[in-house]
Symmetry: C2
Subunit: 552 residues, 2 copies
Amino acid sequence: MKIAIAQLNYIIGDFKGNLANIKRAVNRASSEGADLVLFSELSICGYPPLDLLERKEFISKSMDSIQTLAGSIDPETGVLIGAPEYNPESRGKLLFNSVFFLLGGEIRQVFRKTLLPTYDIFDENRYFEPNKEFKILEFRGKKLAITICEDLWDEQPFESEFSRSRLYNSSPLDELMKFKPDGIINLAASPFSHRKMEVKQAIFTGKAARYSLPLIYCNQAGAQTELIFEGGSMAINSKGEVVNRLSFFCEDFDLVELEDLAVSNTDTSTGKIPDRMGMIHGALVLGVRDYFGKMGFKSATLGLSGGIDSALTLVLASEALGPENMHVLLLPSQYSSDHSINDSVQLTENLGVPYDIIPIKDLFNQFRTSLQSLFKNLQEDITEENIQARIRGTLLMALSNKFGNILLNTSNKSETAVGYGTLYGDMSGGLSVLGDVYKTDVYDLARYLNRKGELIPENIITKPPSAELRPDQKDSDSLPPYDLLDHILEAYIEKQQSPAKMEESGFDSKLIHRIIKMVDRNEYKRYQTPPILRISSKAFGVGRRLPLVARY
Amino acid sequence: MKIAIAQLNYIIGDFKGNLANIKRAVNRASSEGADLVLFSELSICGYPPLDLLERKEFISKSMDSIQTLAGSIDPETGVLIGAPEYNPESRGKLLFNSVFFLLGGEIRQVFRKTLLPTYDIFDENRYFEPNKEFKILEFRGKKLAITICEDLWDEQPFESEFSRSRLYNSSPLDELMKFKPDGIINLAASPFSHRKMEVKQAIFTGKAARYSLPLIYCNQAGAQTELIFEGGSMAINSKGEVVNRLSFFCEDFDLVELEDLAVSNTDTSTGKIPDRMGMIHGALVLGVRDYFGKMGFKSATLGLSGGIDSALTLVLASEALGPENMHVLLLPSQYSSDHSINDSVQLTENLGVPYDIIPIKDLFNQFRTSLQSLFKNLQEDITEENIQARIRGTLLMALSNKFGNILLNTSNKSETAVGYGTLYGDMSGGLSVLGDVYKTDVYDLARYLNRKGELIPENIITKPPSAELRPDQKDSDSLPPYDLLDHILEAYIEKQQSPAKMEESGFDSKLIHRIIKMVDRNEYKRYQTPPILRISSKAFGVGRRLPLVARY
């Protein structure tokens, strides 16, 4: 049996566009002799549709698209495609997260998702009733066990002090094995997480090996606001070896013979995952490109400070959107050093990006004048630093408004975590590119991007980080060294470790509590940050929900 | 059997404070001869604790507090109190949402929540495993059916085209009736919604009448960031009549005899709910007071524009925090009318609130000068309006930073819905007071607050709304009349009606689509708004999750 894996990039709610893209892939599969074509989870409507699932018209359009698809493709080619399905029962949630099997111009069979992830970024219990009846797909003499994404994750890889490996009370594959299938299909919408690629692959190869069955996994490739889906679909043989791998971070298409997946694979390189910086690079470029492309925007505005975060953001965005679509502003304050300007200019020249310079001193002085009667003889403090950051935000937004482009936010995860940033100032923007990248990874990524030659001037990478909002300011005046800070932040945010557990790792108790306090008390700032491209297992944003008002 | 209802206000994660408050209520109940004291759902840790539930230490502290409570109160007084409980099974979610029965210095019994709301603002499936075993509380010769909030909501009141009345597959009360209980207890954390008060009450009175049993409902009273819990706990007799009602929007305490709930109530006024504007007023004042109080802040900054939204916000905040804690700025632009300033000054005098005036013309001119070389001969447009709004935002935030108070956002729901506001300008602030109040309700609420004498100058209420950011600007230049707009917005947002359904109500198809488009395309702005005090059944914020990037 010839199975085509169609790894596509979808736009949520764009039924017309998605349908056209899907049809093209079915036609290609048909012409290449495929028996069956796989698409990813909820692909007809785009994943995650969120509360659009609560709109009657959205579900109708989705069902209509499935019907249209069934009627407009080669009736000999089977299609497995994800879409929401009405729950015919009068009790329970209104929808199932389902996979439709299309053949002969009609819907032949429907398979429903059993395990509904409801943690981190996932809210599937919000919309869907879980499946309770198990069925097999019998097609051209083969029996296929159809699963949807989380259905294979009944045993979660242990990750934190507090998470558990068995979140669910059942194992869909154990149920499906009763039908003695010849292979396992998994249609997924599985988002990227830079430290979980091996874990994810191990889930699939582990299941194939455990049941001694070939497994074909079809993921989507594309970014949906903050979520990046890396693609990387796979065909795995019954020994648990990766035989086919589709590209990361772009659409792809491949054909596999189910029968070939019964034999050993001699090429072990297929299962190799590119190194971490390469994956982060691919993810962020895709994230920027899809945010703009799917929003219908072409160009970005960005403020270059002379620091590494805005430099890296510019390099990534230039790659995603083209250097000609970048509108760069240099906004030096009276405290900015000459080298900040020179380094920034050098960077724009390296990239071929046009730039303008607007000094903010006069504006700052005008604000001081306007506020004089109120502030009288009060000492200058963080207020004046924030005013300068907000002047920059206002100038950048003016550019964005006037020329119709999107302001990119350049904050990194370390500073977002501890609140080292100004709301409505440097925390502004339509999209945060580095908000899930710790400062230490920012450095590593900058070096990675410079690997074939200097894009980011060396001086930007090596100089001590500073906001340059008061004389001789350095990040290290207010923050612990970044390597230390990032370790504690990752333990707290990603690993959800308790202070006691962190102390066991040798970190200073006072430092741990100081950092935790900074993170907690800045929840209110993060509530108002732009969406952040998610690359870790726990990003700020929709997957991390903490009370703003709490005493803990 | 004498049952005390302790309707308290909790701070999330403040185990020490919550415990002290709870103990005081138990002591009072003991001294007044109560057999049993009721507290609300997850009260020991505060509701909703959100992802704090994923922290080991948080659950330990909660369990310790329950143990401490059990050991430090009169051993003869029974206590029913909500807290998270570890799931002892190795499969399924790690926690139950439980009620602990304390007696004789120890935990005697635990009851678990069966129906876990996972829609709108609720995410309980994210954290909790549902109960599957039903038990009864036998105490002093009585059998009590213990339920937790949603457990009574197996039949949801029908509200939208797309929601259904039976979200769940079981009815906990039907199960519990097998034990032949003498009464029903419901410990809840049920948030306020101004059009759902009658519906909520009908759920409780309906259950009591249906099973011919008394029902005692204990809610929390207090605001948790955007969520406002109105209190209004009740004792309902077996005919479904409200016999006792605790106060709305504040802590309260009452004692009821279970036996008295078997007889008819002659006083029908107990079940009467105050009128809608009165309830909204109470909710918003509590919302502001608790946000500040629980955050540890005393004073607020606010920009008065001369319009009704900022005027109403000031009146509500003055009531919540005291007029002496308001720092008001008037920030006239060159387009501001004299009456805007005069009306604002009149309002501050009516309230006894001090104010300062900072004209923004010079700042605006300085921005124009700074941007001259970039904008060259381009026409002035919305960019220049936004610059003025952002100058105001920056000045207000400077005040907030310098004096350590919180900027209040003054946007209403109508403008937030259609994106009629400037991000980082008038959309700034730590808390949005009116972001869930439609403009037409803003007017009604202003009139309500003026009912005992003019607080808000009549001219502010009667003049046509304008942003005053360009000459002779009126809201009606860009927006349909507010009464029409609000009807369509409410149909779309709260009632989740499809355009077809709205057309059936007689609205113009073109207008419907124009408004829907405005709402949809401004999702990105709302992503970055402050938390909004929630008073409706569908507020912008955590309970409404739509993709920013979509084509639908």
